[in-house]
């Protein structure tokens, strides 16, 4: 298991820290690690958890601001169908295809239930 730039976990030490070898941004799970965790959940029969961790693996590469923008757009009556489609396309651009499909599915459900910004 490594950090996003490939530093092995065993080398994340106080010595390395003192030497300035590790950056704060390095301290996060990689997409590969999160996919592995999804696989562990799937093996245990926890399919929705596995699906969520797969979305997490995709979102690991998505910038913070986009993450927060998509969350806001998914809140009730915040976005039009076209806007949600636009966010889904942005996610796809970062390789987050499953999450993009999830956003499109939300848009369909919102359309049925009057939860889009334009009714």
């Amino acid at each position: 298991m490594t950090t996003p730039s490939g530093v092995p976990l065993t080398e994340v030490t106080l010595d390395a820290l003192r030497a300035g070898k590790i950056d704060g941004d390095e301290i996060r799970a990689t997409p590969a690690t999160l996919r592995l965790q999804a696989e562990v959940a799937r093996s245990a029969g926890r399919l929705p958890l596995a699906a969520s961790l797969e979305r997490a693996a995709e979102l690991a590469a998505v910038p913070d601001e986009l993450l927060l923008a998509v969350y806001t757009a998914l809140r009730p009556r915040r976005a039009t169908r076209a806007e949600l489609e636009n966010w889904a396309a942005r996610l796809t651009g970062h390789g987050a295809t499953k999450t993009a499909a999830f956003v499109r599915e939300a848009a369909s459900a919102y359309a049925q239930r009057g939860l889009l910004a334009d009714g």
């Binding site: 969520s52 961790l53 997490a56 009730p76």
Partner: protein, 751 residues
């Protein structure tokens, strides 16, 4: 007419609460509501056409989400075909495994889940919960907050919580801008108390995510869901937005737990006429479908509303069971104040406390409840000894460990010093030595020196702007010589890279090993299986700081001057004015004072004085063959010239006896030895003399203290053990004389 007993009861704390009869139209019904739909699942061409009374076209967002992401059509037909009663039976049957029940639950609709849970009684629910808990061992979560948002006190309380064994610690803010500082204090304090404890700061989601990205927190349980669409939307979310947020947190290495609970829909005005338990089943189906590993449920902040209804406590336990059945980690409430009545809230607690849940409370208030800014504090700092004692009583592990005062003071001070160092190193407004001292020993935040709060919130903003991370905190600790704390904070950063704690019901041990339902699952299947409190853990949980060694209590008292002298075996007397004072085998020998701490010498003097004052003659004998007060007195009576004796056990219990009565009968029994004074014994002597001389005798007035037994029964047992150890079977009674002149003793006791 009015009853003064009703009036007395009306003044009890319980009666500050309002109990109401069910009002299903407003959702004020705990379970099995008259308008709850019948379980229904119709699948056509592989898609769900009807669910719990609704056609697909009428599905609300919750139905749609559960159908899309939760309901397992591969097992639905099989599971839905099983009768409610049979499923209920399987939940408690020890030969039906948790994995099998979890498999079936994936195919059950919310209405079916709620109806099955509704078939279980209180004890069956507890057994089901014990079976269905996700993680092998139960644990607990703490709340750590204070009204002044004092960093030193937050750190010290977090350290205490960690040292006491809480696996997770949650804080929040009074003022939103404090969030980074509070999260920082919690991180440093928790890792000082015990490495591996997970922390969270409950704030608005964006801010929360920011703290998580910085590595200042490791879990979040702020993701609330509701059981009806209007309430969900009023909460400004949908199942999709919450599920997205959950994945977003996980993507930043944050353990995610959703929150739901009975009563919230009624409180928010859109229960749609359905029962609390049914709506919670809908919540939990959505939580599972969203891919959350767990849930905080058990009514949480609405607990008092649910408890206003018949079956409320049972419904809350039912929702915990339901969550566990759906394979979710359960942090089982008991955090918001459930009742004014200590009896009632403790009775409610037992539903989770005895079976054990992943987190028995979703926030035990480590500090006094008036410092709990969650509005929690159902159980708080002042209740900890009770909690520990109840664990010890039941031999149950409910996640809190006893710790000695000096060790807690050490840990609290160390944490306060550590946060002081981190504030200094990171250029935050300084934490003074006076704050460290007050945080170490103080009771609550009122004892904390005031800080410049404007400077604190500015510094908090700046901390975020500078992008200070968990690594910077580790480095700051390292630079200031807090090596262990630095390593522990760094270890939490490594955890974020490996992300093992994203699995169901994960907690982190002090050695950094993650324990979850994946690698350490609950496999309870009856006696002798699953998590059992035994061995070293049981030794730890029974060794409360206030426990004393009875061998020390029962030790020999310091030998003093002899009180009495033995003068050979006793024979029956022939003086009709004689009253025998018959003492027990250990009296004035290996025991030298009564349980009320009256010296035996003074007791004998008072009795003899009383006997003489009525014109009779005292005669002292020691009964050696028996330790029971009735036989001591009766043996004495048979030696007495008048046939009357006062029998006296070493602990002070006394009986006036007559030779012709059965041994277990008596003239007067004085069983409340802890309450007696020398004047009491003088009165006993007077009455014994009265019986001997044939006078009219009014019984000595007796006092009653029904708590004396609870307070002194251990001491009584130990004293009586010493008395029985002095028994010499078959030995004759012996004559006694006071070693000191009686006259002088009488004079001193009369003075």
């Amino acid at each position: 007419m009015a009853s003064r007993r009703f009036a007395s009861r009306a003044r009890r704390p319980l009666h500050r609460e309002l109990l109401v009869s069910p009002y299903p139209e407003l959702g004020l019904v705990a379970s099995d509501g008259p308008s709850d739909p019948l379980p229904e699942l119709v699948v056509e061409n592989g898609t769900v056409a009807r669910l719990d009374g609704r056609a697909a076209a009428d599905f609300d967002i919750i139905d749609r989400f559960v159908v899309a992401h939760g309901l397992d059509l591969g097992v639905a037909e099989e599971a839905m075909a099983i009768a409610d009663e049979e499923l209920a039976h399987m939940l408690v049957a020890l030969d039906v495994s948790r994995p099998e029940l979890v498999r079936l639950a994936r195919g059950l609709t919310p209405a079916k889940l709620a109806r099955v849970i509704g078939r279980l009684d209180a004890v069956e629910l507890m057994l089901a919960l014990k079976k269905l808990r996700a993680r092998r061992a139960p644990s607990n979560q703490a709340h750590v907050t204070n009204l002044k948002e004092s960093p030193a006190l937050l750190a010290a309380d977090a350290a205490e919580a960690a040292r006491r064994g809480f696996a997770e610690i949650e804080t929040t803010v009074g003022v939103a801008r404090y969030a980074p500082l509070n999260a920082l204090a919690l991180l440093v304090g928790s890792q000082t108390g015990r490495p591996g404890v997970m922390t969270q700061c409950a704030v608005e989601e964006r801010r929360n995510l920011e703290l998580a990205i910085r590595g200042l927190v490791t879990y979040a349980e702020t993701l609330s869901v509701y059981g009806t669409e209007p309430v969900f939307v009023d909460g400004d979310d949908t199942p999709w937005s919450k599920a997205f947020l959950g994945a977003a947190y996980a993507s930043r290495g944050v353990k995610v737990r959703f929150t739901s609970g009975t009563g919230s829909e009624a409180l928010m005005g859109y229960a749609q006429g359905q029962s609390m338990l049914y709506l919670e089943a809908r919540c939990l189906a959505a939580v599972r479908a969203a891919g959350s590993q767990g849930v905080q449920n058990g009514s949480i902040s609405c607990v008092a509303l649910v408890l206003s209804l018949p079956g409320g406590t049972r419904a809350i336990l039912g929702e915990n069971v339901l969550a566990a059945w759906l394979d979710l980690e359960v942090a089982s409430g008991n955090d918001a104040i459930a009742s004014h009545s200590e009896i009632r809230k403790t009775a409610k607690l037992m539903g989770q406390f005895l079976p054990g849940t992943d987190f028995v409370t979703s926030g035990y208030s480590v500090m006094p409840r008036h410092d709990n800014t969650f509005g929690g504090g159902n159980f708080d700092a002042d209740d900890i000894d009770e909690w520990l004692t109840i664990q010890r009583d039941w031999q149950v592990d409910a996640g809190i460990e006893p710790v000695a005062e000096d060790e807690l003071l050490r840990v609290r001070e160390q944490a306060a010093r550590a946060i002081q160092a981190v504030f200094a190193e990171l250029g935050l407004p300084s934490v003074t030595d006076a704050e460290v001292v007050a945080a170490t020993t103080g009771y609550d935040s009122s004892e904390m020196p005031d800080r410049d709060r404007a400077a604190d919130v500015e510094a908090a903003d700046d901390l975020l702007a500078r992008g200070v991370s968990g690594l910077d905190v580790a480095l700051a600790l390292d630079r200031r010589g807090f090596a262990d704390e630095a390593e522990a904070v760094l270890s939490m950063q490594r955890q974020r890279v490996s992300a093992d704690y994203l699995q169901t019901a994960a907690v982190i041990a002090a050695d950094g090993v993650v324990h979850s339902a994946v690698n350490d699952p609950n496999e309870y299947s009856g006696p002798g299986t699953g998590y059992r409190l035994e061995g070293a853990r049981w030794e730890l949980l029974q060794a409360l700081p206030n426990v004393v060694d009875p061998a020390l209590l029962a030790g020999m008292e310091e030998a003093g001057e002899p009180i009495v002298v033995e003068r050979g075996e006793s024979a029956r007397g022939d003086d009709p004015t004689e009253v025998v004072v018959a003492v027990g085998p250990a009296f004035a020998d290996t025991i030298r004072a009564t349980i009320a701490d009256l010296p035996h010498q003074s007791v004998l003097a008072a009795i003899c004085d009383g006997i003489r004052s009525e014109g009779a003659m005292p005669r002292l004998v020691r009964i050696r063959r028996v330790a029971d007060v009735a036989f001591i007195a009766h043996d004495g009576a048979r030696l007495s010239g008048s046939g009357i004796a006062l029998g006296l056990q070493s602990k002070g219990t006394a009986v006036i006896h007559r030779a012709d009565l059965e041994p277990l009968d008596n003239l007067e029994l004085f069983g409340m030895s802890p309450l007696y004074t020398l004047e009491s014994y003088r009165a006993m002597g007077r009455n014994a003399a009265g019986y001997a001389l044939g006078k009219r005798v009014g019984p000595v007035p007796t006092e009653l203290d029904n708590f004396a037994r609870a307070k002194l029964i251990v001491t009584t047992t130990l004293l009586h053990a010493r008395e029985t150890q002095a028994v010499r079977g078959g030995a004759a009674a012996v004559e006694l004389e006071l070693a000191a002149p009686v006259a002088s003793t009488v004079a001193s006791t009369q003075a």
